[in-house]
């Protein structure tokens, strides 16, 4: 693979819970061929550990890392990162905090406590 020097990209992320709409801006050094998930992991590891987001398989199968990038819902792991990205929760109604959301449950009980309490 041809290798290039890391470049710095600007990433804006919609932070907060519920309808909160606080835009945080990060300058992230990236190599060529890094994914949106790679950028989120870099921010968490090196810039801001309070960022909430999900990922699981990292290979484009599980959908846990669904986010909206520049208005389009994508899997963060299989989408290559670009400069000037706006990253938002994939769906406001499902959002818990920052980019972390609960996906629609595939089982009857969605994990909400009152539904399992007997």
């Amino acid at each position: 693979m041809p290798r290039s020097e890391p470049r710095v990209i600007t990433v804006r992320i919609r932070r907060g819970a519920g309808q909160e709409n606080e835009l945080a801006t990060y300058q992230v050094p990236v190599e060529a061929g890094v994914s949106v998930l790679g950028v989120l992991l870099h921010i968490y590891d090196h810039l801001d550990t309070t960022l909430a987001f999900h990922c699981s398989c990292r290979i484009g199968l599980c959908s846990a890392c669904l986010v909206r990038v520049n208005g389009k819902v994508v899997r963060a792991c299989t989408t290559l990162a670009d400069d000037n990205m706006l990253i938002e929760p994939y769906k406001d109604a499902a959002r818990i905090r920052d980019l972390a959301a609960e996906l629609p449950s595939l089982v009857g009980y969605s994990g909400r406590l009152h539904e399992v309490r007997r």
Partner: protein
Amino acid sequence: MPEVTVEQELRCDVLVIGTEGTGARAAIEAAEQGADVLAVTKGQVARSGATLTADGEIDVDSRSIREVFGLGGSPDDSPEQFARDMIIEGDYLADQRLVAIHTEEAPARVKELLDWGAPLVGFFQAPGHSYPRGLWIPGLKIAHTLARQLRKRAIPVLENTMVLELLSDGEGVQGAIALHLPTGRLLLLRSRAVILATGGAMRAWPLITAPEELTGDGLAMAMRCGAAVQEMEFPMFLPYAFVAPPALRGVIFPYDVSALLRVHALNRHGDRYMARWDPQRLEGTTRDINSVAAAMEIREGRGSPTGGTFLSFEHLPRNLVEFSAEWFPGNMRNWRAGGFQLQQFMPQFREEAWEVAPACHFWNGGMRITEHCATNVRGLFAAGEGTAGIHGANRLAGNALTMTQVWGKRAGNAAASFARSVEHRDLSGTLLSDTRDKVLHLLSGSVGPSVVEVRQEIRRIARESVWIVREEESLVEGLSAISSLRDQLRTQSVQCRDLRFNRELVEALQNENMLDVLEAVTRASLARRESRGAMYRLDYPRTDDHRWLCNLVVQHKDGQWTLREEAVKERYVPLPRGQRTYGDKGGRRDASE
């Protein structure tokens, strides 16, 4: 300072921890047996865990493929032959009794999946198997199929809930304490029996194919209440995972390609190094030997710039490679690896060799279980990845998924039956307040190392001391580094004060689990003075059946580690004697011979 509250407790007969291949199958069976079941998962059902990442095969003996599934399997195969292959390729450490159950029950369990609507997309023969046994049912489809069954049976599932400790009073286990991740509340889950279906601890290594959740939580919790584990020295590595570009790190080189295509594994000198390890099978040998060979090339300075080796098509004319996507059935047609379209990377791949390295993929060992999935701790059952005895020192391709169904069902059945025989006890004790204090302490703004630094140190130790090729000096260094890091665990500094999906808090708790498991791996690796299956000791390069044909059983209780040896019992596959060259497993039988 955030407030950590305890929710009202939930009660059930059988608590199943983990909801994917194994856990879902266990929950379904326990419910069928009339138990009141509660299942809990750190992620979401069919959206987390290892099952959905299995983009390959689920194996049954080839004769059953013909008779039960109506495909062109070989009538010469049998469950007994399948069991023999597993024992030989597992380098003789498997429990022959458990393996016989595994291959005998596999056809019925896989048939159930198809009856429940899972799609069969093909079948093939993977390395190490004497006959074609790989039924190709994508793991994601298996996960979805089982999720539908959970839903149909209205089995309650707590999603996004991380179990922190098992409720244990020294006489047995009756439930668990969990953290509900969206709210940060602690939950008290009381049960008559517990099934662990939580998988391995692959995430302790830097390059992995496994998903994020696989941090050894179940193994560590079980060890903390006295469960015996074995074959911990044999974490399994896949030889060919991408190391570049960054987005593809840890993605498995399309399995079918490496298995079916004449792809050549090369070092930086262009040598096809597998000729030195398995001259007949070359890259077509089993994954343990491929990984050891690659690790040795890297260790001895013949690797790639990013710390891997190379896979090459150079021996094929370029205008033939052009058609390679057409050579394979099913989902390989478009050069897919997981959800990646590799087509976008093809221009580079056509010109250059692909840089790949061994990645931690699976847990060959784990909790020591009976044929009814009982651990040595009363009330604690375990199944699937993270249990020992099925794979020995190396797992044959396709058996991870088979294991989920055969052993998930057995665990569900046994736990439901056990639950009928015991009453709920009041295991109040101090565990709940201790756990709450631990969480509060982590959130209290300690000044120790950051959670990320601790995780990075765990991975450094794993890579330097207990990667594929090991030796006494680095193992001893590893133990010492683990000991220093253990002192710092309690003072990990969690900066995030928000309890809702607090990634840092979860990682801090996972770090403790990974470190416990890593110590078991390191201690067992140090004790085993030979090379076998997934573990190669540079200072003891031969396989020594005279001395080491035994299971190393590790226990960790009240801060004390103990190791004991249990001789492997010979039942229907004769055990080798004496010493042999690593990789020469003997008794191999290829269908072509």
